[in-house]
């Protein structure tokens, strides 16, 4: 695993298969680090993001995922969200963006309260 970056919100790694692994919160602070990792793996098709350890996401984090989806679509591929928590799934649902991704696996929800 290569660590791409981390701060108080998030830690983002890329594993040996080119999967982007996010841990923590994807918010205004975490989104830019995720963006950096996603841009690094865009030669990998499809782009896979492991969200099993993501405890929180808001619309600024969702924008990072949607931007990756748009770029993938332009390349004729797609983004796989692997093991999203219930919180991630809920945000996709309430914003009507679930169809923008291929979702695989469901993790137990982790909350940061």
């Amino acid at each position: 695993m290569e660590e791409i970056g981390k701060n108080e919100s998030i830690r983002v790694l890329i594993d040996t298969d080119g999967v982007v692994v996010a841990e923590g919160d994807i918010d205004l602070a975490g989104g830019p680090i995720l963006d950096t990792a996603l841009l690094r793996v865009e030669n990998t098709e499809p782009t896979t993001i492991d969200l099993a350890a993501v405890e929180f996401i808001d619309s600024s984090g969702l924008r990072s995922l949607l931007a990756a989806s748009r770029r993938a679509e332009e390349r004729g591929t797609h983004v796989i969200l692997r093991s999203p928590s219930a919180g991630v799934l809920r945000l996709l649902s309430i914003t009507g963006t679930t169809d923008q991704f291929h979702v695989t696996g469901v993790a137990a929800d982790g909350a940061d309260r």
Binding site: N7, E8, S9, D25, D27, L28, A29, F56, D58, S59, S60, L62, R63, G87, L91, I94, T95, G96, A111, D112, R113
Partner: protein
Amino acid sequence: MTTADTGPVTLTIPPEVAMVRVGRLTASSIASLAEMSVDDIDDIKIAVSEMITLLIQSGQRTAITLRFETSASTFTVEASTPSVAQNLGRNDIALATAVLDAVADDHEIAFTDDRLMMRIVKNITTAATASA
């Protein structure tokens, strides 16, 4: 315990992205004191995160003060900041509004006199009221 007993809680934060988490966890703690349900606390965390994000993105790099108030039936968060509305993209507001529509029972986003004012209200569902 609600802030009807203690008075409202105010939190002033610098307009830094790291402070979104601070505001979110403060809201979560106050909601927990008010004995809100787990689902409602999750909603409050999302709503406050959206609120602070918009205030930081539209603001003029000045401190942001949030006011948290709980009663027996509602959790209200209010905040405003001097702002530049043009700093916000239409898509940013639309996505945040879609989220707030889902997680808050009422919300208001208003640009007035070069300020952005936001208010969110969440009805309190405790374990007791949910089973009633």
